[in-house]
Symmetry: C2
Subunit: 482 residues, 2 copies
């Protein structure tokens, strides 16, 4: 029996060489390229059961794992597969100023050709870059630590908070994800609920989701009400004889389902946390660098009066290059270094990373990408809101700038998550329209948009038109099923 | 009073903007370039005391912090400052195939211009790269996780070990350093002794240093004797009712003082650790990719029969680009993914990182850099060994390939660390000869060589000649002091 196995299986099969017998079969097969379809099926051969094979390949889940795409080039908001088929990319927030932006490539190549040492040597780039970042932040956030990933940034933020406060406990939001490192799994309910469980020093506050959370749009002051849940949690922690080092939250919870924090929330939380001797950490890894349009940082949506004690940044910072950062105050940095133990990061803040970071900031400004995010994001949200009047399944449309969520529910009153429909929308948008979106939220029923910042009005219109068509057909089919 | 402050102070002053008053002064000063010497001295003004200012800037210690160099370009094993003064680089192991190697820059720029997505999309580069790495390793190490730094790799290795064994405890070598993340400070005696202290699940085995450790050259079988210390430690751990997840060690302890593990050590330790249900993790972040010359990995120096369960790699892997990896077995990877929680790393294994990794492997082969490391490393060690006959202060010369240490002692019998002389050698080599070396070891008395792999015979001869001159003068001066 000969069955064709998918490209995904072939890739992970080779990558992990899960079974030597299979490697030998592979070697004997004619290969036209790395992904030629192997003409034998491991399941049919019973050498590997589907279950244990799946175990091996799922440590990193592919997009569209049933029929993955092999993208070989990209430009702006477009991806191209090996047959030159074009896909509209609505999800790559990492490729912030557009895939393969020539200014970024040029800056990287020029600096790579010149010098790429480390932060133990003096270099202009790190100084200029820190200065440029400082100009986007409130004055008191003026100390910068350059690292290689949002995870490294959040790990360092946790160290800084604990060292400064000399307290241990952390409050996080429900469903939060702050990174893949051991310390961060501990503070990520999205992960620890499936793994080692909740540590005694970690406390989970309700997600301030005004659509389906404990306080909703109809509440007179959801910001205050949700902040009070943090206050209550702090009191509970104190009753246990424990002390808060930090409140740790994304400025717009992403994995939690593209949530917009209610007004007043962060200011109040910061007040409560600081009264308890803790600090406020704003995780801007997904949301920073102008994605929200009106402001450079999403935490700034909470008003001029609000300033976190620590801000972490990552994904969009290097447009795909591993570059991340922690910004904090002189007081916190002082407490961190006062013990005399240095922090050194081999690649962090090297001249190439900083050259790329500077080039990203230049492109954001020169191409007015914040302005674009404001205009296109508003248009996208308008179109989706109009769509909501035609499709009962659209429970909520929310977002700011190019950070937008479309929450699907099978019942508007019960807000029953329409998880399967959301998955179908993602799959059909890819197959029928070559549009890449994905889902988030605890029930994976929130279709999310966080495209490269050069996303255009036409792109927004096309995506909404296709969603309209897919929902119309789906609705029609579901009716027929009944 | 007007005193010139050093470039280092200016850089860290701006970078961290330690004091707003000083920022304002800076703004008022005429600037000719980023490092123009500010004509006012903060110490004289008493706005910041030397102590608290030093606190702020020392979170990353500069090389030559008294008079740091501003390097603006580099090529091969040479660095050039802003006055085009050339320095010979004997320490940049990260820039493995030479600074700014044109093949690496070309590979990076070409791939950056084409595509830089992530491991959720199929791409040839990740498959080809994993295949190439697999070819350098024993067959059973065939699963690869790509990450951004040696620290991320070691954190993941710890997770893998704990998940696979379902045990918690870790044995590490004394003075070891495995990275800057919270989880790694816990397993790095070099760091935790100065910080939070030793956790109950971490156990420290003696450093198998046959020069100044508990068993020395004169011992009939130091490999077995040191391995037995690990066996004893395991028994102690078991008596406490605890269980070993991993023995974690650099294949050649670097921060510990350029230590060469005695023959037989790793094989025996692996046997004991596996009997206790644990795994052997070889940290090759400093030592991998052919640095030892005769082998691609330093753990291979322990003989064909020895194979770790997990290997971590980093620094030299991307020649300065943030690229690192964990290699392990199908069994360990299977246990890791069996819980159904995926591991995703935003930048890890992206097409650009993999293109760079592939280019590094190509250059190592094409330029026979392993052969060069063998030849030049042997010559360097020979020359240093000859020097030892002329200078009583040279207590030990050890190394393999281009990983060489020169241990200075003020008394050969007592092996009293000559820490100050070592610092003087580093400083004078830089000032008088423009040669960059640095020190390692618990007493910072081991002058270390781990240069780019293109280091030449002439470079080795120059470095040794200059050390000879400096030691001669120092010795003469010290005699005069007496």
């Amino acid at each position: 029996m000969q069955i064709t196995i998918s490209k995904a299986e072939v890739q992970f099969f080779i990558w992990e060489k899960a079974n030597q017998v299979w490697q030998e079969r592979w070697d004997r097969e004619e290969k036209v390229d790395t992904y030629i379809k192997v003409k034998v099926n491991m399941r049919a051969q019973k050498l590997l059961t589907p279950t244990n094979f799946f175990d091996y390949r799922q440590s990193c889940r592919l997009f569209y794992s049933d029929e993955p795409v092999k993208i070989i080039k990209a430009r702006g908001q477009y991806l191209f597969d090996e047959n030159d088929k074009r896909y509209l990319d609505c999800i790559s927030n990492v490729h912030h100023v557009g895939h393969c932006h020539p200014s970024i490539t040029k800056a990287a190549a020029e600096q790579m050709d010149l010098l790429n040492t480390n932060a133990r040597f003096l270099h202009d780039n790190i100084v200029m870059y820190a200065d440029r970042l400082a100009a986007t932040l409130p004055e008191k956030l003026c100390v910068f630590y350059f690292v290689n990933s949002g995870s490294e940034a959040n790990d360092l933020a946790l160290r800084l908070a604990q060292q400064y406060t000399q307290h241990q406990d952390v409050i996080v939001l429900d469903h939060a994800y702050h990174g893949h490192l051991m310390s961060l799994i501990d503070i990520s309910p999205y992960k620890f609920r499936k793994l080692a469980g909740q540590k005694e020093w970690v406390h989970v506050a309700p997600l301030p989701d005004t659509y389906r959370g404990i306080y909703r749009e109809d509440h007179p002051n959801p910001g205050q009400a949700y902040a009070d849940t943090v206050k209550d949690l702090i009191e509970e922690v104190h009753r246990k004889g424990r002390k808060i080092s930090a409140f740790f939250a994304e400025s717009l919870p992403s994995v939690g389902g593209q949530i917009i924090l209610p007004q007043g929330y962060s200011t109040k939380v910061a007040e409560y946390v600081r009264s308890a001797g803790g600090v406020f950490v704003a995780d801007e890894v997904q949301t920073g660098f102008g994605r929200v349009g009106s402001h450079f940082w999403a935490f700034q949506l909470q008003g001029e009066g609000f300033c976190p004690d620590i801000v972490t940044m990552g994904k969009p910072m290097g447009n795909g290059h591993p570059l991340a950062c922690v910004a904090t105050t002189v007081e916190i940095a002082g407490a961190f270094t006062a013990n005399g133990v240095e922090y050194f990061n081999t690649f962090g803040g090297n001249p190439v990373s900083c050259a790329i970071g500077l080039a990203v900031l230049d492109v954001i400004e020169k191409e007015d990408l914040r302005g674009n995010a404001t205009r296109v994001g508003a248009h996208l949200k308008d179109l989706l809101t109009k769509l909501q009047t035609q499709h009962q399944i659209i429970g909520d449309v929310r977002g700011v700038g190019l950070f937008v969520g479309l929450e699907l529910v099978s019942d508007r009153d019960q807000k029953t998550p329409a998880t399967e429909t959301a998955a179908r929308v993602v799959k059909r948008l890819k197959e029928e329209d070559q549009i890449c979106v994905s889902t988030d939220g605890p029930w994976e029923n929130v279709v999310k948009f966080k495209p490269p910042m050069c996303f255009s009005m036409e792109d927004a219109e096309l995506a909404v038109r296709c969603i309209d068509r897919i929902l119309t057909v789906t609705f029609k089919l579901e009716k027929e099923d009944i």
